[in-house]
Symmetry: C2
Subunit: 413 residues, 2 copies
């Protein structure tokens, strides 16, 4: 079965806004085995909304219209869809009454315009909205299903999950959908794709999607079959060779972020970590502490942006800075050892590099980064040459640092 999604609202035709409801809806529909074949964004304009509704229903079995169900003059989804389906709008005084009571509970008087929300398309089932004033509607029309849902994401999600999904599940032919999400740190997208494309390109099912950030790649595999056993077998057939090719570059198989994986490994090892950050300026600490409960294993650290702080707070010997420079293997070593000594942490990570756009030289161009990892046994430093703008270089550096710690902890565990 195919679905189409129409998002209504002139604000979504500005340069600042995207429709994100359709992403949530697409995921939920895909999990039922329904493909989304077309999406529209139309303004608060009855004629253009009507044309989209007619086009979608001429070829697809499921249509979701989001937005335009509010009380104002602009909100014309009810009228436009009724007209497109050639059905009447019927006033339900009991809906107006319920709305008035809702306002009364909040000690407010309902404005007259809210009565617009009491109009229901002939033959439609009302979908109550416990998170807002605009009720939704569900209707079936010559073999197709049409849903009108409110625009605010938390209202739409709750209504769709609780009221639409169970109804859809009764209509849509049953299929089993199973997904695997592999995450990989520290590889470029094209290098990764070159490695694994020969495996996944042979299969339309499972469907493979690759999403790449700075030093972080997600591989989504989605299998759709008649039985669970079939789906699992198919996933194993594709994921197995991919896992073998990527080896320990895969840091997560369940969608967990690198921060979460590193935190879990530290907790399991009863270990702590500290950071000494130069070019990342706090990003590494920020990422580690973005996880609730990170105080179990993260003690803190030093943002040693200036050379003075590298000396004063981390004890980096001035002669190392003078001889090798702030961006050097030796400085990264001294930073990691220094912060570990000052904080008594089990592990310490350091980052020093040229994030750019200025500050590069022939020997150390923009993107040159040293990443250190110290523990009681000593210190290891990686040199990396990252490509991109300042944000990308910093993001890459924090990713490689966390991954360095992850690999070390995985070997310990």
């Amino acid at each position: 079965m195919n679905a189409e999604i129409v998002a209504v609202g002139s604000e979504m035709l500005t340069p600042e806004r995207v429709d994100t409801n359709s992403l949530f809806l697409t995921n939920a529909l895909n999990n039922l085995g329904v493909e989304v074949v077309s999406k529209y964004v139309v303004g608060d304009h009855a004629e253009r909304l009507g044309a989209a509704v007619r086009l979608a229903l001429s070829r697809s079995e499921i249509l979701i219209v989001s937005g335009g169900l509010g009380p104002t003059e602009d909100d014309l989804t009810r009228e436009a869809v009724a007209q497109a389906l050639d059905r009447k709008l019927i006033y339900h005084p009991e809906i107006a009454e319920a709305l008035a009571q809702r306002f009364a509970r909040l000690n407010r008087k309902m404005a007259e315009v809210n009565k617009r929300q009491a109009f229901v398309i002939e033959g439609a089932t009302l979908l109550p909205n416990d998170r807002g004033t605009a009720p939704g509607q569900w209707l079936e029309d010559s073999g197709a299903v049409v849903m009108l849902l409110p625009g605010p994401p938390h209202e739409l999600k709750a209504m769709f999950e609780r009221q639409c999904l169970p109804r859809l599940a009764r209509i849509v032919p049953q299929q089993v959908i199973r997904t695997i999400e592999l995450r990989v740190a520290g590889m470029g997208e094209s290098d990764l794709d070159q490695l694994i494309a020969p495996v996944y390109k042979k299969y339309a099912n499972p469907a493979t999607t690759i999403l790449a950030g700075a030093g972080d790649i997600q591989i989504h595999l989605r299998a759709r079959c008649d039985t669970l056993a079939e789906a699992d077998a198919l996933l194993a057939e594709v994921a197995g060779p991919i896992e073998l090719l990527l080896g320990d570059r895969i840091y997560s198989r369940n969608g967990d972020s690198l921060e979460v994986v590193v935190g879990d490994l530290l907790r399991k090892n009863h270990a702590t970590v500290s950071v000494a950050e130069s070019c990342t300026g706090g990003l590494l600490g920020e990422r580690l502490t973005s996880i609730p409960g990170s105080s179990d294993y993260f003690v803190g650290g030093v943002i040693s942006y200036s050379n003075e702080l590298k000396i004063e707070l981390l004890g980096v010997p001035p002669e190392i800075l003078a001889e090798h420079g702030a961006v050097s293997k030796e400085t990264a070593e001294a930073m990691a050892m220094g912060v570990r000594r000052r904080t008594n942490s089990t592990y310490a990570l350091s980052v020093t590099g040229v994030a750019g756009p200025g500050g590069g030289s022939e020997a150390k161009p923009v993107g040159t980064t040293y990443i250190g990892l110290a523990n009681a046994a000593g210190v290891e430093v990686l040199r990396r040459q990252f490509i991109g703008d300042r944000a990308r270089i910093r993001s890459f550096a924090s990713q490689i640092a966390l991954d360095l710690l992850r690999r070390r902890l995985a070997h310990v565990a």
Copy 2:
């Protein structure tokens, strides 16, 4: 004049992807005085693409189709648009030859499939692509303009700016567009809207858009007039009262971020800043150092996530922690003074709070945050109660800290 945008590509119908090209295109079209009235996303499917093209051209003067111009079987934009317009596709051997030469320069042999890119719709003008292999096309059809542009954003942007905008400017009736972007820190969206809605709601021109993040609000005003003088007068008429109502809560009038504004003020005052971060874990340092050249004024700081580090690295007296707790006015004071002393910076910011979801108490619920600012004259601490999840609370805290420093520097300057 009205425009519609069709994005082609099955990958944009997955739960992970949004079409962002249309945001760039909408901004550029709006600046010409053209409204975007409808957007579509269709998969690699000739019939559905054709239907979108016909619908758009039945009512709008400008149509932009992005994506589907590559060399593979999936890339069927050329064929589908030609068919929808009832025009032939014509093979241009000179395009195939130029492509082959492009490959030769990269020491690669052109695959046979690339010849698909040498087909041009009858009557269309070819738009060369200096950033990729897929050329674009420009054609006029019974009073409407149709553009076929490549999907990769950097190719689309360059082609649209250099080749389409000049052509459009000759067709679209001349209008003057002037914009103002005001940025406000530390206010809730509804508080701000309540304050300024009575001003801007009276005007359809300039159009007002309000975008809210955690503790950061952007107010975009866009005036569209026949003359520059008219547009400027209209903007002043609306922006004037808004600026008066918001006063020094406005930190920027030109789109600069708070980090940039604070950095410029520090540089102007020949002042430096350091940070002592607890619940933000490095976010404040990360934001300050996201700006190129921030080493001019940012010296670094301490991520004192554990109490031990607050004592060891910042010299917070253990009795203050014991008596008042880590999340307290007294600790925030001692952190700010401590990091200033350790780093010899002109100013020092400190943040300590309960970012949640755990760790809250009746006296200090999740979201309770103390923000300190020290200089030679002493230390000032704000207590704030933020609402939201961990990421939002941390983001709000960093925003209020930067804004506290901005206000102080603005008074000095």
